[in-house]
């Protein structure tokens, strides 16, 4: 049984919504134990190992992030940040080598605008998210998420939440 496009799209929307609603534990549950979250530092960056990335995190590091956000002594979250995702409808990447519905593996690509705010400051980011999803025990899980910012090489201030 493979997933319909509509189910995949709903999954992507749900992920963004959990971040926007700051339900980070539920968000983390969407990720496979072997998941990687990658935000390259340059356009067309081939490698996350020998080149610095903005983020290249496994589930352990994502969990550190989530727990840190909730910490009493996380001063950069006093006051807290808020965020908002505006997603274009995800496209199911049927031509992608990793997209194999018969094996329960799917690839989607989603253009987005992402707004992060803290106090009176509001910053807009734009980019594309690529998700590699896989069936695990009857549930869809994120195996890999890549976030490509249109201005990934720019000098940013703090980006504290998750795109």
């Amino acid at each position: 049984m493979s997933r319909t496009d509509q189910q995949l799209i709903a999954f992507i929307y749900r992920e963004a919504r959990l971040i926007d609603e700051q339900k980070f534990d539920d968000w983390l549950d969407l990720y496979s134990e072997e998941a990687w979250y990658w935000m390259p530092l340059t356009h067309g960056q081939p490698d996350a190992r020998l080149h610095t990335s903005l983020m290249h995190e496994n589930k352990l590091l994502l969990r550190v992030r989530v727990e840190r956000l909730a910490g009493q002594r996380t001063f950069s979250q006093q006051p807290r940040s808020r965020c908002h995702h505006l997603l274009q409808m995800p496209s199911v990447e049927t031509g992608h080598a990793e997209h194999k519905p018969e094996e329960g593996r799917y690839v989607t690509r989603t253009a987005f605008h992402y707004v992060e705010t803290r106090g009176d400051e509001q910053t807009l980011y734009a980019g594309w998210a690529t998700h590699h999803l896989a069936e695990e025990d009857g549930k869809l899980r994120i195996r890999f998420k890549q976030v490509d910012l249109v201005n990934c090489e720019a000098a940013f201030g703090n980006i504290q939440l998750l795109m």
Binding site: M39, L41, T42, Q45, R49, L50, H51, T52, S53, L54, M55, H56, N58, L60, L61, R63, V64, R65, E67, R68, G71, R73, T74, F75, S76, E153, A154, A155, F156, G157, N158, I159, Q160
Partner: protein
């Protein structure tokens, strides 16, 4: 707003740095920022780039020295030159932002004046239009202005914009030993820029970052949220799980005060100094297979031990560079305004060493120095709160740097002290006051 005017008033600038405290104006006055650009960043040796960024003749890299736009270029004689990036004709930046190869000459994109890679004027279209104008005596005929004081030290290119001043060796003195150690960590004695550059915008004064580099009383407080959480999450992992490299990099941050007290600080002259004299947060990383053997083959066992046993934490090359030798990172603090600083974090490959070293270096860079880094979030929050506090709390004038003050500090140099001393900060501010005012009328 500061009440007094500092321009043309060197005594007022000197008065901002006292033995145990420095005045808030050095962090918030835009006038002082401008004087820093005109004086401090002109008379000191400022980092430009690494020679591996311009490997072949004609290769260039554009950057800034203080607030001056320059291009670092490999000349036909293989030397690395630093030119002001401003056409002799109408002032257009001849080299585009970034890096590339210009071939044998720079050609201005506006009117096609061309300049050799040492800056000299090569050709002007319709040259005869300048006959009988006295062109050969005009400023424009001299081409692109070259910075005369340039020094390539083991691949690291520094320049002094001012034509006269302290020599490179006199200025840096013993602090060059940190660069030596970083380069010696390559079995081939050579570094290459690799892994990209992180750029991180800070809405604070650049000296807060310099101050922070040898501040060993903040990690266990400010970084409890990031490094502390990382250690806690890791401890919850099932027993027997190998310790991830990321945890190995995070964990030492929250070492206790005693650790930092005992590892010491070395204070050199002219504002230079470093933390981590006897061991540091970088001392206990796992061995990387093959690296030790390649070092022994290159240097012999005794010398290899000596090189790798030196694990300095943060070295400040005053005014604006921080070097992490054991993990091959350079952080450059670029002042953009009194309350705005661009931080660039550059990483290096040790030529002839296993790739896994560069992997650890780039991992450290993204975990600690990225705008998406939790550790970075901790620090930037403190700087921005400090900037705000200094600017908007008129009742207090001074920032305190009295910790472990010693008698006669200004007469002493090359000393090792308790690692929680603020002597190195005092050293930086004293150097700041001196270079800001030396020779000033």
């Amino acid at each position: 707003m500061p009440q007094s005017s500092y321009r043309g008033n060197p005594q007022a600038i000197r008065d901002l740095v006292q033995d145990t405290q420095v005045h808030k104006d050095i962090f918030i006055s835009q006038e002082l920022y401008e004087i820093e650009m005109e004086r401090l960043f002109a008379v000191t040796w400022v980092y430009v780039g690494h020679e591996s960024q311009v490997p072949k003749p004609g290769d260039f890299y554009t950057t800034t020295v203080g607030d001056q736009s320059v291009v670092m270029v490999r000349h036909s004689d293989q030397s690395v030159r630093v030119l002001y990036n401003r056409c002799a004709h109408k002032g257009v930046q001849v080299a585009p932002q970034g890096h590339g190869s210009t071939g044998k000459f720079f050609r201005c994109p506006y009117h096609a004046w061309t300049f050799k890679t040492d800056g000299s004027l090569l050709s002007v279209p319709l040259k005869k239009g300048y006959e009988n104008t006295g062109f050969e005596n005009m400023e424009a005929s001299r081409g692109l202005e070259a910075v005369s004081a340039v020094r390539n030290y083991r691949g690291f290119v520094f320049c002094r914009l001012s034509a006269t001043g302290e020599s490179f060796e006199d200025f840096f003195g013993e602090s060059l030993s940190t660069i030596d150690n970083m380069v010696d960590r390559s079995p081939e004695g050579r570094l290459e820029v690799a892994g990209g550059v992180l750029r991180y915008m800070h809405r604070c004064n650049w000296k807060m970052l310099v101050d922070n580099q040898t501040d060993t009383c903040h990690p266990m407080v400010a970084h409890e949220s990031s490094a502390g959480t990382a250690v806690r999450v890791w401890q919850e992992a099932p027993e027997g799980t190998p310790k991830p490299m990321a945890v190995e990099l995070f964990a030492p941050f929250i070492s206790p005060y005693e650790f930092y007290e005992n590892t010491g600080i070395r204070v050199w002259k002219n504002g230079h100094g470093h933390t981590g004299v006897s061991g540091s947060i970088h001392s206990n990383y796992s061995n990387i297979p093959g690296y030790w053997d390649s070092m022994v083959a290159a240097y012999g066992e005794e010398r290899a031990h000596q090189i790798l046993g030196e694990t300095r934490h943060n070295t400040i090359l005053f005014p604006h560079v921080m070097v992490k030798g054991p993990i091959q990172i350079l952080r450059i603090f670029r002042p953009l305004a009194a309350d705005r600083t661009l931080v660039e974090s550059w990483t290096f490959r040790l030529a002839g060493a296993p790739d896994m070293l560069l992997e650890r270096t780039t991992m450290y860079n993204r975990l600690i120095n990225a705008p998406t880094s939790m550790v970075g979030h901790d620090d930037l929050e403190m700087y921005e709160r400090a900037q705000h506090g200094l600017q908007h709390a008129r009742a207090r004038e001074w920032v305190n740097v009295a910790r472990l003050l010693e008698p006669g500090e200004t007469e002493r140099e090359n000393e090792v002290v308790n690692g929680t001393s603020e002597w190195q900060m005092r050293n930086q501010y004293r150097a700041w006051a001196r270079y800001m005012t030396e020779g000033a009328k």
